[in-house]
Amino acid sequence: MALLEVKNVKKTYITKLGGDKVQALKDVTFCVEKGEYVAIMGESGSGKTTLLNILATLDQATCGEVLLDGESLKNMKQKRLAAFRRDNLGFVFQDFNLLDIFTLEENICLPLVLQGKKLGEMKEQVRSLSYRLGIEDILKKYPYEVSGGQKQRASAARALITNPKIILADEPTGALDSKAAAKLLQLFKKIHEEGQTILMVTHSVQTASHAKRVLFIKDGSVFHQIYKGDGDFDHMYRMVFDTMTLLQTGGEEEQ
């Protein structure tokens, strides 16, 4: 059984002015197996963020079903959702979403505090994780004192600290320079190799090419997918790039 199953998900918005219906997702179906590293690609407005929000339980699908580890997110009560997110999902956001009131260490600890973990356990987990991610030197600093790359690594640590079933990353390299982005992707590769399932959404070819599988979304449905297989990064990059070009020119033809 797949870890994440997305079955015929549709999402329709009603605009505030005029009440027009806008179909953000038409019919999305795909699976993510345990231990996979998947990127979802698409242009702005393709529906990829909507999809991620639904997977993240921050939004509800109009039709269709999302199953995580066989459990449907659909009928879950609002009250349980936050706890479900906390215990099963890890988030990495484009703009880091670290809290200014906390040091990096405290930020990383936050999900554990919310879980009600014991202090010693928390400290131990943070120490070993920060060591793994190479941020043990900046733990006592506040977010405004460190660089974007460091913030994003702290944010990744916060996502990983609960040992989530899946990491959901929304444009994780979006606010980083190329060097910091490369470092973060290196980190993602490492945790993937340690067995972590990752699903990220991006429009950067460079970023997506690091994943083992890339799904392409266009106008609210899955358009194509590419497996990395045994090919190297350059090969993958070319394939992703070609597909994106196809996607874009195809889009123009349609208009």
């Binding site: 936050a82 997110r85 906390r86 956001f93 200014d100 009131i101 999900p111 202090l119 609960t162």
Partner: protein
């Protein structure tokens, strides 16, 4: 400069206000309320009628003092609200400066913005003032029992003073803001929203200073006595406690939070985690909010306490101060028919269909002497010195005069005296008068001729009863003063109006007598006291409501501004997995800390202030400790309920802001 460039800054200023409505509306509201209060206050005290009204002078003085107090508080209040505003504007101003506005331009921008706010606030406040001032004025007249059939006029002078005062107040705010902008680098201005506040510079010194100041204020109150220094002590104590509270919270809160954060088993708990971090992130702002809440709470409670006590104790004050309806003093030698005066009193009473209930008359000789232990010395050259410690006014009576009413026989021997003090008892078994030892046969605790006023400190009098005229002559020779004075006092039945009529007619009668030294119309004087105390009660209600509204505005203001600050944080935390329940719990904890900490200290302040308040009440002859104590308890209870209600309301507002994404 082209047209559009010229209007860019005013436009930006206006946009700045409009875009930040959520922050500016309470700021402007607070401003309008301040203008309204100040303007109404001035309208009332500048009113022409106030100068012509009988007995209004007391009220005028009170209003003047009140307006100074109000001005001081308003300036502090406006500075406080301004601080919140600037913190929220910092980011926008930083952005402008990054986009190319020079500091000069930002200064102009702030100037224009302040100007716009000044105009809005004055228009609003003055308008409300015009609408409501007459109502408030009538209320004042009613409180002070000043006749109501007067018209109320609008005063240009009051308007001018209001314009000027708020120009200064907002000018001060502008200067503070400009100073901040000039001092900062654009980048740091931009960052201001993000960065936590700097820690207090000298935490230990500040804490010690705070404790010393608070202790000083408390000490002044606990040791206060009704004497010449009570008023200066009172203001000193207020000053100490206000400053002390600020210091105490500023340093103390930092300490407390640090200590709590260090106790990791406590800190790393769901309900404490966010609250503690959030509060230490903005310790300074939290501390200033907490101390303001504490100070205003104390002010509200003390004002409430005083006003209620005064209202309930009024009747006693009046009776205490003027127990008689008519008091008259004559040169005894000029009066041939002593009984005639009393008879006339009874006749006038009868005419008015009332009767004389109490009548006292006696003859005495007045001297002044300096007391040293049990020795009374001649004042010599210092005869007109009043302020000197130990100088007493003494009434000398013969035993015959003393026993007149009681109809008892003579019991005093030569060399024996009765003593009585209308204030603190003399407590001597013998007195040396005119170099001769007199044995005190008895010190009266209740004297037939005059009431004991144990707690009165001002104008204390001693009464000495000696055997006969011969003794008095001897004493007079030594102390060198004293005329023979006939003193008559009367009380009649009936209401205040009838008493007044009686007193007036009696005055008319005695005015015909040659030897009148002094006459007092008790009914009239009671009215005077009533008018003064009525003014105090009005002031109490006016300021009490003002303080309360300030308090509520501060509470509300703090919650909404922090709500907007925290909104993003809560959104992130919800994404990371904070349940709605956790959010509510965290808010509850935060609001609890913020609201109950200052309330607790405010209760302390109020309780400690009681001795001083009692001493002050002594100055207006309110000596009912039990009443004041009960009123204190009542005020605290009432305030507590109000406070808790406000707390629930603001917590709800905060929750709404935080949850509304």
């Amino acid at each position: 400069m082209s047209f559009s460039e010229k209007w860019l800054l005013p436009k930006l200023a206006w946009i700045g206000i409009w875009k930040n409505k959520e922050t500016y509306i309470p700021y402007i509201g607070a401003g309008i309320f301040s203008v309204f209060l100040y303007f109404v206050f001035l309208l009332i005290s500048h009113n022409d009628i106030m100068y012509t009204l009988p007995r209004a002078s007391y009220v005028m003085v009170l209003m003047l003092l009140g307006s100074w107090l109000l001005a001081l508080i308003l300036v502090l209040f406006l500075l406080y609200t301004n601080r919140f505003l600037m913190k929220r504007r910092a980011k926008e101003l930083g952005l402008y400066s990054i986009l190319g506005l020079e500091k000069k331009h930002i200064a102009i921008l702030l100037f224009i913005e302040t100007g716009i706010i000044y105009i809005i606030v004055l228009l609003g406040g003055v308008l409300w003032g015009v609408v409501f001032s007459k109502l408030i004025f009538l209320f004042l007249l009613n409180m002070t029992r000043i006749p109501l059939d007067v018209s109320f006029s609008f005063s240009i002078k009051a308007l001018g003073s209001t314009l000027l005062f708020f120009a200064v107040a907002y000018g001060l705010n502008l200067i503070v803001n400009l100073f901040r902008v000039m001092r900062s680098r654009p980048g740091s201005l931009f960052q201001e929203g993000k960065k936590g506040e700097k820690e207090t510079k000298h935490p230990i010194l500040t804490t010690i200073g705070g404790i010393l100041l608070l202790g000083g204020g408390y000490f002044l109150s606990l040791t206060s006595q009704l004497d010449g220094t009570i008023f200066s002590d009172f203001f000193l104590a207020i000053f100490f406690v206000i400053l002390g509270t600020h210091f105490f919270f500023r340093a103390g809160l930092g300490y407390l939070l640090k200590a709590l954060k260090k106790r990791e088993t406590f800190y790393y708990k769901k309900k404490n985690y966010v609250t503690l971090a959030g509060m230490s992130y903005r310790t300074k702002k939290s501390a200033s909010s907490l101390s303001n809440l504490c100070i205003f709470s104390t002010m509200v409670m003390i004002t409430l306490l005083c006003t209620i006590s005064l209202a309930f104790g009024m009747k006693d004050i009046l009776l205490y101060r003027f127990p008689y309806d008519v008091e008259m003093s004559f040169l005894a030698e000029k009066i041939e028919d002593r009984e005639g005066i009393i008879k006339e009193g009874e006749r006038i009473a009868e005419q008015n269909k009332i009767s004389v209930t109490k009548e006292i008359d006696y003859v005495y000789y007045k001297i002044k002497a300096e007391r040293k232990g049990n020795v009374f010395l001649n004042l010599g050259e210092d005869i007109n010195v009043w302020e000197k410690e130990g100088v007493y006014e003494i009434q000398l009576l013969t035993e015959e005069e003393f026993q007149r009413g009681a109809g008892k026989g003579a019991v005093l021997e030569k060399g024996e005296i009765f003593t009585f003090s209308d204030g603190k008892s003399i407590k001597e078994s013998s007195l040396i008068l005119a170099d001769k030892n007199y044995v005190v046969k008895k010190e009266y605790e209740t004297f037939p001729l005059i009431e004991k006023r144990e707690k009165a400190v001002f104008s204390q009098q001693y009464f000495l009863v000696v055997k006969d005229r011969e003794e008095i002559e001897r004493l007079l020779q030594y102390y060198g003063q004293g005329e023979e004075i006939l003193h008559v006092r009367m009380c009649v039945t009936g209401g205040e109006e009838e008493k007044q009529r009686f007193a007036e007619q009696m005055e008319g009668y005695i005015a015909k007598n040659e030897g009148v030294i002094n006459r007092a119309n008790g009914a009239e004087q009671r009215l005077e006291i009533l008018s003064m105390n009525g003014g105090l009660i009005f002031l109490g209600i006016f300021l009490g409501i003002a303080f309360l509204i300030f308090l509520l505005i501060i509470m509300y203001y703090k919650q909404i501004t922090e709500g907007y600050d925290d909104r993003e944080n809560f959104m992130i935390m919800e994404k990371v997995g904070m349940t709605d329940e956790d959010v509510r719990g965290t808010i509850k904890r935060q609001v609890q800390l913020v609201f109950y900490l200052p309330l607790f200290l405010a209760f302390c302040h109020t309780a400690i202030a009681l001795p001083m308040i009692l001493a002050l009440f002594g100055a207006i002859s309110l000596f009912q400790e039990k009443l004041v104590f009960l009123c204190g308890l009542g005020s605290m209870g009432f305030f507590f309920i109000l406070y808790v209600a406000a707390y629930h309301k603001t917590a709800k507002v905060y929750y709404k802001i935080v949850k509304h994404s």
